[in-house]
Symmetry: C2
Subunit: 220 residues, 2 copies
């Protein structure tokens, strides 16, 4: 599959590399073609990797992953161009974190709105699926790092888009428990999780953790 990635940071390069290893063709997008970090990533990720502008990555991908910082996500979507994303799936991995007052961060949007919804409103012709924003990058692409069962929470308005994303996450990354919470407004829940996640990170001393939902039916 041809996949676009927005963002050259740890999340974008981790997801991009894992997708190339799984046999996908991946184009990493940034503000300008030839970005140092994107070029270095292409060199490391090999023949399935390429780089370009956000618009290049959007036009290239059948699916696109938004791995930018939360405060850049809407501007990046505009730079990528709604026409390049029309009819496609945009997996939004970003969180609206504000570190301006230090750690733990606050959220710039929450409670009765979410960044996932803002992206969906900005790109009405695109199927936004919120996913992977609930855990650290290494675990996004290799859930087997944790020995016990643990859960991925996704949401979005389009059932077909969520099925496509779920299949990709299962087949390319090995996810076993993928819970579809419903429409994109559920991003209000999975983004708010970051207010607890950051504190659990402080408590545990490692980002290498995830939640598992224990139910009265026993382990899922």
């Amino acid at each position: 599959m041809k996949i676009g990635i927005f963002g050259t940071g740890v999340v974008g390069s981790t997801i991009g590399s894992a997708l190339t290893r799984a046999g996908h063709e991946v184009r990493m997008g940034s503000r300008t073609r030839g970005n140092d970090k994107a070029v270095a990533w292409v060199g490391a990720a090999g023949a399935n990797a390429s780089e370009g502008t956000f618009a290049d990555a959007a036009a290239f991908g059948e699916i696109v992953f938004n791995c930018t910082r939360g405060d850049a996500a809407l501007a990046v979507a505009a730079q990528a161009g709604a026409e390049n994303l029309a009819g496609k799936v945009l997996v939004d991995v970003s969180n609206p974190l504000d570190f301006s007052k230090g750690f733990p961060p606050t959220l710039t949007v929450l409670n009765d709105d979410s960044l996932g919804e803002q992206l969906q409103r900005a790109l009405p012709g695109t199927h936004v699926v919120k996913a992977l924003n609930t855990l650290t990058a290494a675990l996004m692409v290799e859930p087997s790092r944790l020995s016990g069962p643990h859960d991925l929470l996704i949401c979005g308005n389009d059932a077909g888009a969520k099925a496509t994303v779920t299949s990709l996450l299962r087949e390319s990354f090995g996810w076993k428990i993928v819970r579809d919470l419903g429409d994109i407004t559920n991003a209000r829940g999975t983004e708010a999780w970051l207010l607890l996640w950051t504190r659990l990170y402080g408590h545990l001393g490692t980002p290498d953790f995830n939640l598992h939902l224990e139910t009265s039916g026993g382990a899922a």
Copy 2:
């Protein structure tokens, strides 16, 4: 141990009954002595149970559980009287939920403040411990309803108060994994969990669930 309960709803009566079964003397407080629901609870809970005003319950308890609705918590603390709670532990089980726009609710305070902190500021001479607000009432007092491991998250400024509450929860309710996240500002995290909890409730179709933190060290 002598324990006070603020609130006559499901949470207050569930916690109160479980504490009487564990051998504690429990006084349920409400706005007026002789409240119908409090009297009915005393009749059901037996010899270790009594009822009175919020001030009566506060004066009676060595530990007090706040089980009111979030939007009543500060007014109840004022009615109970700071002098009746001075030097004591107040376990805050409430959440600042706003159902005025339906389900799922929003929170009336979050992100850079929390109800737990508001209570602590209102009662500077009391040790507020945020606990049990992250799960449904039946599970608060009987965590063994779920077969697998799952975690209770608590926080508060006073280490001794947290140790007292942790011992009580282990011995009287059977909690095994109690995670102390740190000072009371961590209530911003455990209260924000409700924005996800309410959506997981919708997804699972039952409130009988809790989170377990899966870490790279395996099950806790």
